[in-house]
């Protein structure tokens, strides 16, 4: 088995697992269910623990916790894949809110740039106290169930087959320093790479992936690592 040295270098910078925030993020890390044919699983997760009102550093939203009638704590999981089936570079989010007893009372997740509620209290999809969510085949947005909330199956099939790679290298404002390397040539290389990985989704969500302590790093660490990771992937594509 080959060693991904870039990933190893990221995890080498991880703080001691005895850190309070790291332990909290590990204890409440979601379990993700993927399509049995899903070609891309998460590589690393950047966590941020909020105990008072603040803006997210990785998603355009604010987090309201710590005041009366608000959750005591929110944990943001910024989940990194290298690849989405349509483009290179993929970051999705899950937010878990806790009460004073540090029990999960709510959850939200990202859905193609928007925020969706995953349930509250008794309606939360939990398994042994951990949030369990379904991931859209190829595209990785999250839903609490598969009965319609994952979207139109035909659309998903179209994206995972015909549209594979059509988005090229995706750049968000978080990684603006990559704009100078964004060219039609890179987009074509990404397209070629992902066309070879186009797949027909089974809609059988049998790949279970629990976010574990080993892949959790503070968001700032992950954010610093991603541009070099992408630059290296682009070099390899060439």
């Amino acid at each position: 088995m080959s060693v991904d040295r870039a990933l190893a270098s990221l995890f080498a910078t991880r703080p001691a697992s005895t850190g309070i925030d790291h332990r909290l993020a590990t204890a409440h890390a979601p379990i993700l269910l993927f399509d049995s044919r899903e070609p891309f699983l998460p590589l690393a997760v950047g966590y941020t623990v909020f105990r008072k009102h603040a803006h997210s550093a990785s998603f355009p939203r604010s987090i309201a916790v710590g005041e009366k009638d608000e959750p005591a704590i929110a944990i943001e999981y910024a989940i990194w894949w290298d690849w989405d089936i349509v483009h290179l570079s993929e970051l999705e989010h899950i937010w878990v809110t806790l009460d004073q007893k540090q029990e999960i009372i709510g959850a939200q997740s990202s859905w193609h740039g928007e925020i969706r509620n995953m349930g509250m209290n008794a309606t939360l999809p939990l398994k042994e106290g951990r949030l369990i969510l379904f991931s859209e085949p190829g595209k990785h947005a999250f839903a609490p169930t598969v009965d319609g909330s994952l979207g139109d199956a035909e659309r998903i099939r179209y994206l995972c087959t015909e549209k594979a790679g059509s988005g090229g290298l995706l750049i968000t404002s978080l990684f603006e320093e990559l704009i100078p390397i964004k060219t039609p040539e890179i987009d074509k290389l990404v397209h070629t790479f992902l066309q070879r990985r186009a797949f027909e989704p089974s809609f059988v969500f049998s790949k279970s992936y629990g976010i574990s302590s080993e892949i959790l790093v503070p968001w700032a660490t992950l954010q610093q690592w991603i541009p070099n990771r992408l630059a290296r992937l682009i070099r390899e594509l060439r």
């Binding site: 355009p60 483009h87 193609h112 740039g113 928007e114 059509s166 988005g167 090229g168 290298l169 995706l170 750049i171 968000t172 404002s173 603006e176 320093e177 704009i179 100078p180 964004k182 060219t183 039609p184 890179i186 987009d187």
Partner: protein, 364 residues
């Protein structure tokens, strides 16, 4: 006419959504540094949250990108003119996607035509050819036309990045380059209207900057181009530094001229960023730009706004208003103004009710 946005750094293309949001590309300060994270070309979404018809209240500006390339032709190529480039034009598709052209002057391989998703992520990059100053959709929004001022070309670009050259513009009457700067599609016929800015008039015997004329007054024009054949005919002649053009559903044509008169070029050692620098024009007479309406019914042209400081772009919003970007040049640089010394200020102007005869003056 009202100022709806100020404090901008070289505003260029403006796109207006059907629900009134404004997207603005800014070419930045022109200070081109080695570190791309210091570049300051921008793309911002503005929303009038409180309905007061401006976009300057808290949280009304949502900065999508703030590090696109930026450069000044004076510093990069010794043009003697204070002329900033970077993000240059912007289109909003009916499906919510934005198309942004970026000109880096060939300095950093960042020339681009980017496709940006409705939630502000850069997806495909369709092109990285010459400096694509102006871009426009065809009538069905199925492809893009672009003018490349550096190559004097008009091209067609598909949404998958295929190119087709339409026409290369010949030299103008005095022998200078055409320099296509802006364009618009006639919604009635699909023809293209292209603003030919006009380039330097070189004197082969020139021994100093003082012997170079930035442009010849009256040599700029608007031409009509058949996008299928490239056939080109003069539509409006006798213009000066025609920098952008727009046309409405009725066939009224709106022309932006950046300035009326060339001025002395800047000396090589001039410090554009010195707040104490002497107030000089910088190649173009400041506060002499104008917007003129050429009515579809053949009536005489009417000046809708004049005395503008170096306007560059015009957009017709879904609300029928005209949006004009002004303030080309190094932001904050001292310049001569109509009431004394002032500074270069990037602003967006909105002109409404302009089709009323009472609202405008007839050009003499």
């Amino acid at each position: 006419m009202e100022i709806i946005l100020k404090g901008l750094e070289n505003p260029r293309g403006v796109a207006v959504s059907m629900t009134g949001e404004l997207y603005v590309a800014e070419a930045g300060t022109g200070l081109h540094l080695l570190d791309p994270t210091k570049w300051d070309g921008k793309l911002t979404k503005f929303t009038d949250l409180n309905g007061d018809r401006d976009f300057e209240d808290e949280a009304e500006a949502e900065r999508w990108f703030s590090h696109f390339t930026t450069y000044n032709g004076f510093s990069a190529y010794g043009t003697g003119r204070d002329e900033v480039s970077g993000p240059s034009d912007l289109l909003l598709h009916n499906d919510g996607r934005l198309f942004l052209s970026v000109d880096d002057g060939g300095l950093s391989n960042s020339l681009a035509l980017h496709v940006i998703s409705p939630d502000g992520r850069i997806g495909l990059t369709l092109a990285d050819r010459n400096n694509m100053n102006g871009i426009a959709f065809d009538r069905d929004q199925q492809k893009i036309f672009a003018v490349e001022s550096g190559l004097n070309m008009l091209v067609e670009i598909s949404f998958t990045g295929e190119f087709r050259d339409i026409v290369e513009f010949p030299l103008l009457d005095s022998g200078q380059q055409a320099v296509p700067a802006g364009l618009a599609v006639d919604p009635r016929t699909g023809d293209l209207f292209v603003a030919l800015f006009s380039g330097y008039l070189f004197d082969e015997q020139a021994s100093s900057l003082d012997d170079i004329i930035s442009f010849v007054e009256g040599d700029a024009k608007i031409v009509r181009v058949d996008p299928d054949t490239g056939d080109t005919t003069d539509e409006i002649i006798g213009l000066t530094t025609a920098v952008d053009v727009a046309i409405d559903e009725a066939g009224n044509i709106y022309v932006v001229e950046m300035t009326t008169t060339p001025t002395k070029l800047l000396p090589t050692q001039f410090d554009l960023y010195d707040p104490q620098a002497p107030p000089v024009h910088g190649g173009y007479l400041r506060f002499s730009g104008r917007v003129t309406l050429y009515p579809a019914d053949g009536c005489p042209p009417r000046v809708l706004a004049d005395g503008l400081d170096a306007p560059t772009n015009i957009t017709i919003g879904d609300d029928g208003a005209l949006y004009i970007s002004v303030g080309q040049g190094t932001p904050g640089r001292p310049i001569p103004g109509p009431d004394g010394i002032t500074q270069i200020r990037g602003e967006i102007l909105r002109i409404t009710n302009y089709l009323s005869e009472d609202a405008v003056e007839t050009e003499q």
